[in-house]
Amino acid sequence: MADRRYTKTHEWVAVDGKHATVGITDFAQSQLGDVVFLELPKTGRKLDAGETFGVVESVKAASDLYSPVAGRISEVNDKLASKPELINSDPFGEGWIFKLDLAGDLPADLLDEDAYKKVTEASNH
């Protein structure tokens, strides 16, 4: 299984060699509530780590999404256009947002499972 890392802004990235898959966390979807729309990036787009790549609209609010890593987008999850609720029902699986070919090293500030858990516990209070 690919190694999953997290950001303080509640995205996840699963790295497999030079390739990575990006989505938002279960905590993020639970805080957002029902997702109704995603503004998705285009295949081929180059992203820096921390760059805004899209917007998720939930019933509650519109939130910017930030790329956890740098690279070029190789595939976008088109299913989300018609079924944005996949973000709620399966955020780490069918609700993945895009895949990319990694450029350079992984950012040093990516969080592991335990560190991310501390972030979510802090924002629950």
Binding site: S30, G33, D34, V36, F37, E39, V55, E57, V59, K60, A61, A62, E85, N88
Partner: protein
């Protein structure tokens, strides 16, 4: 710890948490935003029935010899013809005609009950007491009495109570729900047929559990604030604090039908008479948006490059399949069928002006029945 940071909880709090409710601050109360999914809860309300805890809403008992005359002076609608067992939607205005709150008043043998918005409870109580003559007493009963709303086309069939058919739209009577003495009214805030059930706080859990147990296999779900907001917005029911406040008058909010200028003196009458004579400067209207373009409260509305107003409420309607919004715009600037643009995520999103309400639920058929009986 200050008083401001302490959120209040209703007697059903533990049940909300046990049902998986995501608790949020709403008007100073810790209330469930949703239990499972706003979409599912909203569909339950439209297709079967949803059960809401609305115990956070303020409830005042008004008694004393001149209660009716006092209420008549306090609110915009005409309460003089109300009989015991009849409720009425109302506005309470300041002298300038601005809306202090919207409320439902219930006329009973021994006085009136007023149900007000949670966030306005203390303000309303102060205002009412300031306006009240010496022989009228206003008691805050919010904490002894709990209120749940059971709303949806199947609510009457699925409610554990007898003879509900004898309660007309906006009527109420004493009765029993699941064996618990209750005041049952055919009122609500979803556009659907349904009931609001007022019981002593220590027994509300029994009513809540019985309704969910009895209706669970028939599509009944506990429903949170998210589903409530979507349902009320589709039905174009105004929300105080979003669509109206003390700077908005009844005619601007499209609630002129609640203002009975001919009934005699009441607070705000002179100002409202002037607005009616001159015509309101602003008006509330409905906008249909494209999928994905959710218009948020405060977003700018324009047409032909001219700024016309702002969005007051907006959401994605799961039931209709597109986002809907209410906007407060310059009077006579837009008609049904016109195109406008709304600022969504920093760009201009197209909108179409549509007739209100966006959706007519089962509550309307009850009204029609009543109207045809009267006619």
């Amino acid at each position: 710890m200050t008083a401001n940071s302490a959120l209040r909880r209703t007697p059903l709090y533990d049940r909300h948490v046990a049902l998986g409710g995501r608790m949020v601050d709403f008007g100073g109360w810790e209330m469930p935003q949703q239990y499972t999914s706003i979409r599912d809860e909203h569909f339950a309300v439209r297709k079967a029935a949803g059960l809401f805890d609305v115990s956070h809403m303020g409830r005042f008992r008004i008694t004393g010899p001149s209660t009716k005359a006092f209420v008549q002076r306090l609110v915009t609608n005409d309460v003089s013809g109300l009989e015991p067992g009849q409720a009425q939607y109302n506005l309470m205005c300041n002298e300038a005609g601005g809306i202090i709150d919207d409320l439902v008043v219930y006329c009973s043998e021994d006085g009136f009950l007023a149900v007000v918005n949670a966030s306005n409870r203390e303000k309303d109580l102060d205002w009412m007491r300031l306006q009240a003559p010496a022989d009228v007493t206003i008691e805050d009963r919010t904490f002894e009495l709990s209120l749940v709303a059971f709303q949806g086309p199947e609510a009457q069939r699925l409610m554990p109570a007898q003879r509900l058919d004898d309660i007309p739209y906006f009527g109420f009577r004493d009765g029993e729900v699941a064996g618990v003495p209750a005041v049952i009214s055919r009122t609500g805030y979803t556009g659907e047929d349904g009931f609001e059930i007022m019981v002593k706080s220590e027994r509300v859990g029994q009513v809540w559990d019985a309704i969910l147990e009895g209706g669970g296999e028939k599509g009944v779900l506990p429903a949170g604030l998210g589903a409530r907001d979507a349902a009320r917005l589709e039905a174009a029911l105004r929300l105080w604090g979003n669509d109206m406040d003390e700077t908005v008058n009844a005619y601007e909010a499209g609630l002129g039908w609640t203002v009975k200028l001919a009934k005699g003196e009441f607070v705000g009458r002179d100002a409202l008479q002037k607005v009616k004579a001159e015509g309101p400067h602003r008006t509330l209207l409905g906008l249909k948006m494209q999928p994905g373009d959710i218009a948020r409260h405060g977003a700018a509305v324009s047409a032909g490059g001219r700024h016309l107003g702002v969005i007051t409420s907006g959401t994605h309607s799961f039931f209709l399949g597109y986002p809907v919004a209410l906007a407060m715009v310059e009077a006579r600037s837009l008609q049904v069928g016109d195109r406008a643009v709304v600022e969504v995520r920093g760009r201009e999103a197209p909108a179409e002006v549509v007739k209100l309400p966006f959706y007519r639920g089962s509550a309307h058929s009850i009204t029609e029945k009543k109207e045809s009986r009267n006619g």
